[in-house]
Amino acid sequence: MNFLNPIAFLFALTMPAVVLLYLLKKRRKSRLVSSTVLWQRYLADTQANSPFQKFRNHALMWLQLALLALAVGALARPFWRGSAAPSRLRVLVLDGSASMQSVDVRPSRFESARAQAREWINGLRDTEQAMILLAGAVTQVKQSPTRDKAALRRALDSCAASDSGTRLAEALQTAAAFTYEKKGEETRVSGEIHLFSDGASVDLGELANKNLPLIYHRVGGEGRNLGIVSMDVRADPEDPTRRLVLANVFNASASRELAQVELLFSNQVVEAKSVEILPTNSAAALFSLKQPGDGVLTVRLLAPDDLAVDNSASTYSFLPRPVSILLLTRGNRFLEKGLRAAPRSQVTVAAEWTGPTDAFDLTVLDRTTPATWPATSVLAIGVQPTNWFAAVVVEKSPPIVDWNHAHPVLRQVNLDNVDLAESQLVDPPPWGVSLAQSQQKALIVAGERERKRVIWVGFDPLQSNWPLRISFPIFLANAVEWLNPATQQTADLLLRVGEPIRHTSRQPVTEAVVTRPDGTSATVIAQRDGHEIFYGGTDRAGVYTVRAGTNVATFCVNLLNAPETQIASRTNLVIGRYAGVSSVSTSSAPSDQWRWWAVAALALLMFEWWFYHKRTA
């Protein structure tokens, strides 16, 4: 232990004065009594006539000496090395992602990190500034830079872990803004970032060149976790009246696990299955059910693991309905047959259509451009809408170099042996993604314009061998499924934690009430003339209900985040390709202790007061 103000020990010279006071005789009141026999137990020693009495072992004197020693000690401002290194500003970043709710350390990783952070705050010197950021679904500044430790502790207490994936990069960028200081042209590091995290599923690639003054305080261990990482609901191809529910369960632990997976419809268990999953592998659980009506389908994992939030996923599923398709073509049997073969499709074929298209779910334009653009989703084949793309080039025999397997439209579609005679090529526009690529340009584009889904095919299938390939009807079936407004609506109702709820109301409303999974509700003011409702507080997984006038919509918010399911805490954080940061236990800094000394002195003073009055009052 060291002392910041050792000169205060001069006050210790007053200690002999206390002893001297006890050597002096006490002034007492004289009182005549019948006899002193009964007072034998209370008698003081017979006093000598000198001004000093002989030294006696007096409890009060020792109490007062101890009190004085503590007071002198407090004045000398003792300190010892605490758990913080000296710097001007420290930014405490607390990871509030879902993996921090793991209970492999009790009570949870988040609470453990909070306890570490509290100890770290206690170790700060009075002159040091610190601030607190919470990296949850969004980065929140819980406390701006301050020297007030009580305020920092209060801010820390107000933090809570969310159910969202890790978004540390955003928080660290915010923290970095506080830890750099510009001096002319030079940028200097003027602070430290203390990250309290488990390091699970952290992607800090974009911070590779930032040279962050990052100190990583690791919490948590390996953990044992199983989680649902994806969920899909679609029509059963063998029986259109049934629905197929597919859930992917990932085993993030180091041993083979047997998990029970349940399917619930509107909170009623429909079916349960056992799934065996190898370590660091995933397994699918497939359910087929006859859906009695629109409702919430939930897949629940019954596994005693360390993280609960990824053990359940929900989605709102509508009853399968027929898809009404308007095909505007000058004649294309392949296309017409392909569309008719799509599940639940009702195709209306016309060369021209001047009436309203509201009755149709989607419109297929085959080398025709209608006078009035349809108000539905559109599959445009060989059409050149002028305002969709910046530039369109036409190329003879363009090779299909690559295509996007992951997109729902090209699922199970193989374009390997498809040859084209001629095609329009475009640069991928901002509203869509390229599904099939020829050299630098896109052949097929899918996206969303004015809240309607659009697939644009740059070539005429009749000018290729694609209609003769099996991939053609599969593509058409996928396209119909994807363009179907019911599919889009289902997708809109399925969100990840942290993604905002966007609800469109046909009737204008002034406000809507959002009911959260925990039963609390929030009122949201409608946007865009009362047709749009936005709600951003989706930091908890579960079912959210939006009531806008008479319209009720159910949104399912899930974690569905495979990296977050891998909860193993990391010793090193990788920043980009070359940089990294290792976890530290603590670094040391002086920790002022005078307050504890003063508190002890006060307690002793109160004890002495009590002790004295016990004897004399």
Binding site: K26, R27, R28, K29, S30, R31, L32, V33, S34, S35, T36, V37, L38, W39, Q40, R41, Y42, L43, A44, D45, T46, Q47, H613, K614, R615, T616, A617
Partner: protein
């Protein structure tokens, strides 16, 4: 006119009692108490053979008829009982409200009155007796008979406490001076720094049937003063320093009770009856109930 020591009403109630001795009277004078000596009374004691010169009135003619021998009937002789009251009149007895001395005076008066009513010979010895004038002494020594009770009570009421006294020495001297030991009643606070053991021991050794009555003031049982005090002993003048407070009251009372208990056990071991009373206690209840329960009289 000075207030009488005891109310006439109380005195009338006391007349029903007789001092219990626990042993036979040894006095040579005739009295009302049974003794070991044989003489003239109505209580048959024994027979003995007739010898020439015996009073023929005491021959048992019935026995002569049956056995044809002369037997003389013997009767118990009734002697007087000597009651000695030792009243502590030292300075320490002047303390308390009411003072311990005036309280002890009343008790002594009551015991003396009961004894005189029972035709016992009563002697009251004040300790110290320096303040006792010869006139008072004659009214307090060897008093007998109910008619003397008024003078006895008057002389007793004129006694005053003061001065110092060594309890043990005073009792030892009194034991030596007594010619006919009988019942001794010691009225004191038993707070002599030198102790009380040898004094009581001397009385017991002399053959007294002893009743020890300790009188303490309420102030001594629960002191009201607190703080850093210098206590001055009223008799010895010795100064003692003490720090006392209400938090220590229980401990003080515990130590006081221990002191009384030691005294009680000392008395019990020597066949001395003991009673500790507070000078603030109601006199009538003490005399009519507690004294009876402790066996002082009945």
């Amino acid at each position: 006119m000075p207030e009488p020591l005891l109310e006439p009403k109380l005195l009338r109630k006391l007349e029903q009692f007789q001092l219990r001795t626990g042993r036979r009277a040894r006095s040579s004078a005739r009295g009302e108490r049974r003794s070991k000596a044989h003489g003239q009374s109505v209580e048959f004691a024994d027979y003995r053979n007739y010898v020439a010169g015996d009073d023929l009135r005491y021959l048992d003619w019935n026995l002569y008829g049956r056995l044809d021998r002369f037997f003389l009937k013997l009767y118990e002789e009734e002697r007087e009982l000597s009651v000695t009251l030792f009243l502590d009149a030292s300075e320490s007895m002047t303390f308390g409200e009411p003072s311990k001395f005036s309280f002890a005076q009343k008790i002594a008066g009551a015991i003396g009155y009961v004894s005189l009513c029972g035709f016992d010979r009563v002697t009251l010895t004040a300790l110290p007796d320096t303040a006792v004038t010869p006139a008072l002494r004659s009214g307090l020594r060897s008093v007998r008979g109910r008619k003397s009770s008024l003078g006895f009570l008057q002389a007793l009421s004129q006694l005053a406490a003061g001065g110092t006294m060594t309890f043990n020495a005073a009792l030892r001297r009194a034991a030596l001076e007594t010619r006919q030991p009988g019942v001794a009643v010691v009225l004191s606070d038993f707070l002599d720094p030198a102790g009380y053991e040898t004094g009581l021991h001397a009385l017991a050794g002399r053959g007294f049937r002893i009743h020890a009555l300790q009188v303490l003031s309420p102030e001594e049982l629960a002191p009201a003063h607190a703080g850093d005090l210098r206590l001055v002993d009223s008799e010895t003048g010795a100064e003692q320093e003490v720090t006392f407070g209400r938090y220590r009251l229980k401990a003080y009372q515990r130590s006081t009770q221990n002191y009384i208990q030691r005294l009680r056990e000392f008395c019990r071991a020597r066949g001395i009856s003991f009673l500790s009373v507070s000078s603030g206690a109601p006199m009538e209840a003490l005399l009519l109930r507690e004294f009876r329960e402790t066996g002082l009289w009945g």
